[in-house]
Structures are given as structure tokens and as C-alpha cells.
């Protein structure tokens, strides 16, 4: 018997029992489409998180000083000294505090960060308008300020803040630049702050010490080495033995580690979800087997007739296997189609981006096809083994 003839025969027999076929297919359709959609959701959100995290700089170390005894901060020079470590391309010491900012009649409590010129490149900020704080500003204690986008809106509304003045704790600062929006990340909003020269901040906040330092390494690969040097330096400074790598006087965060952790959390979630979806696919497969077994019993006489006119065991086997394959193949195709149809709906409903990928579509299609083979073989071989005499006599 020819293969194409077999497919046509399987198709005909499937069509002759539409309702049953539809219900059988439903299991696999739901399985395939949920595997594809869930994996796409997982991948989408994982990619989104990764992108957000890496926009913060994956080659960034952030050092936070909590201090020990009398020494609770680093001086600016001590912080800048990290720049001499091999592989470090930028150091940005930050003096931070809270001040009351006032423009016209708007009064607001705002976080102020005293920064150097390197802050812009180390933290990867872009300017929306104006300029960033320059080294000369730092050297001459210029009373200039750069605003985060949210703070600018809060204080100035729709007015252009660049060129205006803002009063911080009663001292007038000239706004020279406006940061582009960066969004929030772990550790709070990046847009709700006012940046001023570090020297001016030391005076404004009446604090000489640097409590946080951002260190930019040349590449992500060098980050671990740089981290080791930095920790070594800090350990000397605070005379602390860091036996287990943690210290109470300072903390060094590795941005790349953070990205990896978050990414692994989201991919674990994706794997778990698709695992659950795979179970539904498996259950769908058992449904196919169940229907095929019922169909073998129901069609015992048909098998007998086919055998009496010369169907071989192979022909009967092929017929039932093809039926299972046609069912699962079409179900797989429908499942792929449905997952494409519901993808945008899920995306707009949950806000999670959907990332369809060919490998997972092919994989789940192949999976549903092999379910057809695996769960079709048993009923098919049962059918093919029937003795023609017994099969013909069956009612």
C-alpha cells in the first residue's frame, strides 16, 4: 500500500468521526500552545530583565561603605585611588544626602548626589539637554546642578529647567543639564535626584566622607579580578579580616552577579512553567492513545474486512499509526497557530513581552508528533495482531 493512500485513508476515517477527533485534538492543541506561549513568555521576560540590568552596566562594581568605629567613610582621594587598579577605567565617588529643593513655590525633599565628571560615563547616563557636571565645576565648587527627569518634572512642571535656578537648603544652584530618563532599577529610581559637584556637596551636606563609589571595569570578564583588588584595599583600610568574604564595614556589589541571579530566577520560572505545560501535552497524548484503543475495538470488524481482502499486518499498523499521526500532527499545527494568535493578547494583558522562537515551535511540534507515534504504536499493533477470523466474527 502506498503511503499517500494511507494518509488519505487515515484522513477519511478521522473525518468520519469529527466530534471525537476534535475532543482528542483539544488536549494536544492546548498542550502545544501552552508550551509555546509559556516558554515565549519566560524567554521574553528573561530577555527584558537582562536588558534592564545590563543597561545599568554589567561591568560595574558598586562599593557601599557602612564604616567601622571612628572611620565610617572614605575620602574622595582614597576613592579615586581605586582608579589605579589594573582593568579599572572609571571611578565615581558619590557623596549623598537629602536636601529640600525649592523652585518658585514648589518645595520638595530630594536626594542629592555629589558627583565627579566621571559619574556620567560610569553610570551610563545620557543627557536630555544641557551639559553634565565638569571637572572644573568640581575644582571650583561651582553651584551647578543636573536634574533627574522625574525631579525636573516635579519641580519645574513643563518648564525647561536648564538655565533656571533651584534652591537647595536655601542655596541657589544653577541648573545646567537635564538627564535623560533611565527608568528604575534595583536600588530605586534613577530619575529622582539632583546631581551637584562633589566638592559642593561636601559643603552643602556638611559631610566630607564618600559613602559609595562606583567602579567601572574594562570588561565584564575583569570584574571579578577588580572586585578582589578593591576588597583587598578596603580590608586594609578598615583593618578587617574578611574570612567569609563579607564585612560589616563595606559591601561590594557586582552588577554582573546580580544580572545572572535575576536571569536565572526568571529562566527557572520559565522552565517550571513549560514543565507543567509539557505534562498537559503528555496527558493529551494519553488521550490520543485512549481514543485509538477505543477505535481499534470499535473497528474490529473493519480490520477483519480489510484483512480478508488482503491487508497485511503492516498495512493495518500503518493505517492506525497514520491516524494517530495525522491527529497529533494537525493538533500540533493548530497549537502553533493558536499560540501565535494568543501571543499578542497575553502580551498586552500581562505586560510580559512574548518572544516566539523557532526552536521551541519546532520542538513542541516534534514533541506532539512523537506523542502520536509513541501513543499510536500500542493501539496500532493491537489492531494489526487481530486474527482475521476473529475480527470478522466480532460484532
Amino acid at each position: 500500500m502506498h503511503f499517500s493512500q494511507g494518509v488519505r485513508m487515515a484522513w477519511k476515517s478521522i473525518l468520519s468521526n469529527k466530534m471525537r477527533t476534535l475532543l482528542t485534538m483539544l488536549g494536544i492543541v492546548i498542550g502545544v500552545s501552552s508550551v509555546i506561549t509559556l516558554v515565549a513568555m519566560g524567554r521574553g521576560s528573561s530577555a527584558q530583565v537582562k536588558e534592564q540590568m545590563s543597561s545599568l552596566g554589567t561591568n560595574l562594581l558598586s562599593v557601599t561603605i557602612t564604616g567601622r568605629g571612628a572611620v565610617t567613610t572614605l575620602s574622595v582621594d582614597e576613592a579615586e585611588a581605586f582608579g589605579t587598579i589594573d582593568g579599572v577605567i572609571g571611578v565615581s565617588p558619590v557623596v549623598s544626602g537629602n536636601v529640600s529643593a525649592k523652585y518658585a513655590t514648589t518645595n520638595q525633599n530630594v536626594a542629592v548626589e555629589g558627583v565627579t565628571a566621571s559619574y556620567e560615563t560610569v553610570r551610563e547616563y545620557a543627557m536630555q539637554s544641557g551639559r553634565f557636571i565638569s571637572s572644573i565645576d568640581v575644582e571650583y565648587l561651582q553651584k551647578v546642578a543636573v536634574l533627574g527627569s522625574t525631579t525636573a518634572t516635579d519641580l519645574f512642571g513643563t518648564d525647561d529647567p536648564v538655565g533656571q535656578s533651584v534652591s537647595l537648603n536655601g542655596i541657589r544652584y544653577k541648573v545646567v543639564g537635564l538627564l535623560a530618563e533611565k527608568g528604575s532599577s534595583l536600588g530605586g529610581s534613577n530619575d529622582e535626584k539632583i546631581l551637584i559637584p562633589i566638592s559642593a556637596a561636601q559643603r552643602l551636606l556638611q559631610s566630607k566622607g564618600v559613602r559609595s563609589v562606583y567602579i567601572q571595569a574594562e570588561s565584564e570578564e575583569q570584574l571579578d579580578l577588580v572586585q578582589a583588588y578593591v576588597e583587598n584595599d578596603l580590608a586594609k583600610k578598615f583593618r578587617e579580616t574578611t574570612t567569609n568574604g563579607s564585612s560589616s564595614s563595606y559591601r561590594v556589589f557586582n552588577q554582573a552577579d546580580l544580572v545572572d541571579t535575576v536571569a536565572s530566577v526568571s529562566s527557572t520560572l520559565a522552565v517550571t512553567l513549560s514543565g507543567i505545560a509539557c505534562i498537559s501535552l503528555l496527558v493529551g497524548g494519553i488521550g490520543v492513545m485512549n481514543i485509538m484503543l477505543v477505535s481499534v475495538t470499535e473497528r474490529t470488524r473493519e480490520i477483519g474486512i480489510r484483512k480478508s481482502v488482503g491487508a497485511k499486518r503492516r498495512d493495518i499498523m500503518l493505517q492506525f499509526l497514520l491516524e494517530a499521526l495525522v491527529i497529533s500532527g494537525w493538533s500540533g499545527a493548530f497549537g502553533v497557530g493558536i499560540s501565535y494568535a494568543i501571543g499578542p493578547i497575553v502580551e498586552s494583558a500581562t505586560g510580559t513581552p512574548i518572544l516566539m522562537s523557532w526552536d521551541i515551535i519546532l520542538l513542541s511540534f516534534a514533541f506532539s508528533f512523537s506523542i502520536g507515534i509513541i501513543f499510536g504504536i500500542f493501539p496500532a499493533s493491537k489492531a494489526s495482531r487481530l486474527k482475521p477470523v476473529d475480527a470478522l466474527r466480532y460484532d
Binding site: H2, M9, G304, I305, V309, A311, D315, P388
Partner: protein, 248 residues
Amino acid sequence: MNEEQHIGIELKDIVKSYRMGGEMVTTLRGISLHVYSGEFLAIVGPSGSGKSTLMNIIGCLDTPSSGSYTIDGQDTSRLSDNRLAEIRNHKIGFIFQSFHLLTQLTALENVELPLVYRGLSSRQRRERAVTALTRMGLQDRMHHKPKELSGGQQQRVAIARALAGNPTILLADEPTGALDTKTGREVLHIFDELHKAGHTIVLITHDPEVAERAESVVRITDGVLTEERRGRHALQSRRPDGLEEHSL
């Protein structure tokens, strides 16, 4: 033995026994029978006599426990399932009491079925199936499903299916059993025609009237042949002697 007549099928000492509820039941106890090419033979016997078992063995649907069965010079007793399927496909045309047509297929597709398993191209299949159906006078009903056909028409489709493969013998099991007398007579008339056209026919029945139509008649009782009347040729008169065959 008629040497000039080519031997169609030959059964020698066929015994069939099987286990039924722990007991061995023997339904055929040494049957020997020749069916000549072109002969129209009726096997008669009451129900339970073993004629259905005999027909299953002749039709290669079942294998004998002992003895040999030769069709067209080929011994079937040691053949695999696959080879038996091929023999059914090429050499035997079945006509059943309850027609045994596939309900979801049209008459034409039913007739094509044996040719599908033979692996013929769809054009060849169609050609042959249309010829067979036309011969049965069903050229207008080819695309109907069995449900849309009368009993007589269904049996004619079944005969067309049996003929389409151009088999060595036509094996009919109570072909008129499910039909009313008038249609039954029509179907029997078809068998007469087929016999005249040179087909070898083995007909199994419990009805003596049906058996009367046949050229030769053998009677089976309790698994043995008890009576044998053999005719020589389809067009010659019947000879109720049965001398050329061993009878019991």
C-alpha cells in the same frame, strides 16, 4: 482424476481443532477435497457441521491444525501471515452473508480496497473497480455509501469487490442469507452468470435450494464429508455420481 482439468484448489486430510474453555474441540476431521478450475461447488451442511471453519481455511483466514491445503499449486500450511494476506489479496474473492462492506467508504472505494492493498496505481484501481461495478449493473450507484444501497445492491458491490482482484476462486458464505427470496434469486443468477463466464466458485450454504444451482455439491456433517456429487463442466449437465473423487 480429470487430468485435463487444471487443479484449482486441493485440500488433503484437513483437521482443525482448537481449545475452547479448556476443552479441545475438533470441527474438521480429515477433509479432502478438490475444486477444479471453473467449477461451481456448493458446500452444504447444517449449522455446527464445520462448514464455516472449512470456508475460513479455504479462504486462508485460518490455518488447519494438520493436513495440507494447496491453492494454484502453492501449499499454504506453512506460510506467514503476510504471505497468507497476499494469497487472500490475489487469489481469493470473498462474498459474505452480511456483505462486510466498509460503511464510511463509497461503493467504488469499497471495490478498490483489495487493489489498494495490492499496490496498484489509483488510475488502474479505478479502471478495474468501475469495470467490476458496471458488470454488476451498479454504474449509477458507484458514489453511494453502503447505507444508501439496498441489500441486493450491497451484495452486488461485495461481488464486484471480490471480482475486481480477478481471483482464482470466489468464496461465498451464505450470500443470500441476508436477502429476501427475490433478491436472493437475483444474486444466485449472478453466480450462474459468473460460472458461465468461467469463474471458479465455492458457495457455502445450508439451503438445499441454493445448492441446487451449483454444478457440484458436497455435504459436510460433523466435520467430515458425507456426500459428494460432481459435475464436469459448467455447460454440461450435472452428473450426480461423484465417482472421480474419494468420498467417505
